[in-house]
């Protein structure tokens, strides 16, 4: 990896709220960085699934960021990716057990997607680009911001898709019974449509912000 992967802020700066806020909006992992598209498109068909998936990912991100940051001087450069994957896979396994212990039903509805958190490039990218170069405190803030930003983005998609595709929100019917649901919104194609429209809206918003600033 090259030096372009350095975080936007300098590594010598003490923890600031900016580490936290950047993941929520300015560098939102889904809307701005467009990372981790597999779960974003696959599990965002209902609001509950999207929320659970977002929180599970945020937990794995937080824990792996902490461990990677704590061990950053101990891991040699050559084996860093292997080490990060090992750490991430461990926390995914732990999350899997924890979800089973909390609720069998929830585990049932998330199905295979929990194991797939391992290959979510958002988590690996935060480990590589941020946690490996910063203190634990800053890594925690970064992970919290990015994790919540990811959850927020998934929830936006999940809510829109469930509303359009099923006429309900969090499983509760919103539209009258004669509402003709748009099946396409629940299908993978609906994920792409919704994400594209959201990205369009957010880019327009951010451009306007820039114009008013300048």
């Amino acid at each position: 990896m090259s030096k372009q992967d350095q975080p936007t802020t300098s590594a010598t700066v003490p923890p600031t709220t900016d580490e936290f806020i950047k993941g929520l909006w300015r560098d939102n992992p889904v809307f701005v960085q467009v990372l981790g598209m597999c779960p974003v498109l696959a599990v965002s068909n209902t609001a509950v699934n999207a929320l659970a998936m977002g929180l599970a990912t945020a937990f794995v991100l937080l824990m792996s960021n902490v461990l990677v940051s704590a061990l950053r001087n101990f891991i040699p450069k050559q084996v860093r990716i292997a080490s990060y994957i090992l750490i991430i896979a461990t926390f995914v396994t732990i999350t899997d057990y924890a979800i089973q212990a909390i609720s069998v039903d929830l585990h049932k509805s998330l199905g295979a997607f929990i194991s797939l958190i391992v290959v979510n490039c958002l988590i690996l990218s935060r480990a590589e680009a941020f946690a490996a170069k910063n203190t634990i405190g800053r890594s925690v803030l970064d992970a919290l911001g990015m994790g919540l930003g990811f959850t927020f983005a998934l929830l936006c998609l999940g809510a829109i898709r469930e509303l359009m595709g099923n006429g309900s929100l969090f499983g509760l019917a919103v539209f009258p019974a004669n509402f003709q649901s748009w099946i396409v919104m629940i299908l993978p194609a609906g994920g792409f449509f919704t994400l594209a429209l959201l990205l369009l809206g957010i880019n327009a918003l951010q451009q306007r912000q820039k114009q008013t600033q300048s």
């Binding site: 101990f74 040699p76 084996v79 090992l86 461990t90 732990i94 057990y97 089973q100 212990a101 049932k108």
Partner: protein, 234 residues
């Protein structure tokens, strides 16, 4: 990618460092996983047992107590104990408040669209019908195939699905079959789901195979389940 060439003198030292790091991290990770596994195992087993127990109550309406039975290789049914429970298929008898046999719950599995689907269904010997179905495990497409668990019209199929036996009790009069949505004409047909064709057909097929195998056996020995229930009440 970096293309730095390590000097020959430092290669063994850095190799050792890599080994130390990987082994060290491996140990930490293994420890964390083992701790979590040990910490959650009882809870997960309890949750699973509870889920199965709840499922039995869902597929056999009106029961207040259940008892597991073991199906032996010779086709007999014995009350299951902690020792023999892993030797064969378990079926679960359900009893109502008076202690009478209300029905028997069985597990069945078959290939769905994504993975194996495992279901639990309840058989009522008095009506000779399937009176409930619950999906225990499925990885069907969220939003489409998972309608087999949620679709109320589909669940209606299993309120009184006909599995009447021939007079000699050796086989079913009509095998349970899945049909296209809206084409159900007979009480032994399962009305499919639009948008979950493969998954709903899979349920029909696995139920057809399972009922064909087990219902005659269970019905022939139904007194096994009835007698032990009265014994336990005395």
């Amino acid at each position: 990618m970096s293309s730095t060439i390590t000097k020959p003198t430092s290669s063994s030292a850095s190799g050792q460092k890599m080994l130390q790091a990987m082994v060290g991290i491996g140990m930490i990770c293994a420890l964390l996983i083992v701790l979590t596994y040990e910490g959650t195992r009882d809870r997960i087993e309890k949750n699973r047992a509870e889920a199965l127990e709840q499922a039995i109550f869902k597929v056999l309406p009106g029961i207040t107590r259940t008892a597991p039975y073991l199906a032996t290789a010779e086709g007999k049914f014995l009350p299951a104990t902690a020792d023999n429970a892993k030797e064969g298929k378990l079926v679960y008898a359900g009893y109502n408040a008076e202690g009478d046999l209300a029905g028997i719950a069985l597990t069945a599995s078959g290939q769905g669209y994504a993975d194996i689907i495992r279901v639990l269904y309840g058989y009522d010997p008095a009506q000779q019908a399937i009176v409930g179905l619950y999906v225990l495990e499925s990885k069907e497409t969220p939003g489409l195939g998972d309608k087999i668990e949620k679709d109320l019209a589909f669940m209606e199929n299993f309120r009184a699905l006909d599995v009447t036996l021939e007079d000699d009790l050796t086989q079913l009069k009509n095998r349970v079959v899945p049909v296209k949505h809206g084409n159900k004409e007979h009480p032994w047909e399962i009305d499919g789901i639009t948008g979950a064709t493969i998954s709903s057909r899979a349920i029909g097929d696995l139920l057809g195979a399972s009922t064909e195998q087990w219902i005659p056996q269970i019905h022939q020995q139904v007194e096994v389940f009835e007698t032990s229930s009265t014994e336990k009440n005395e």
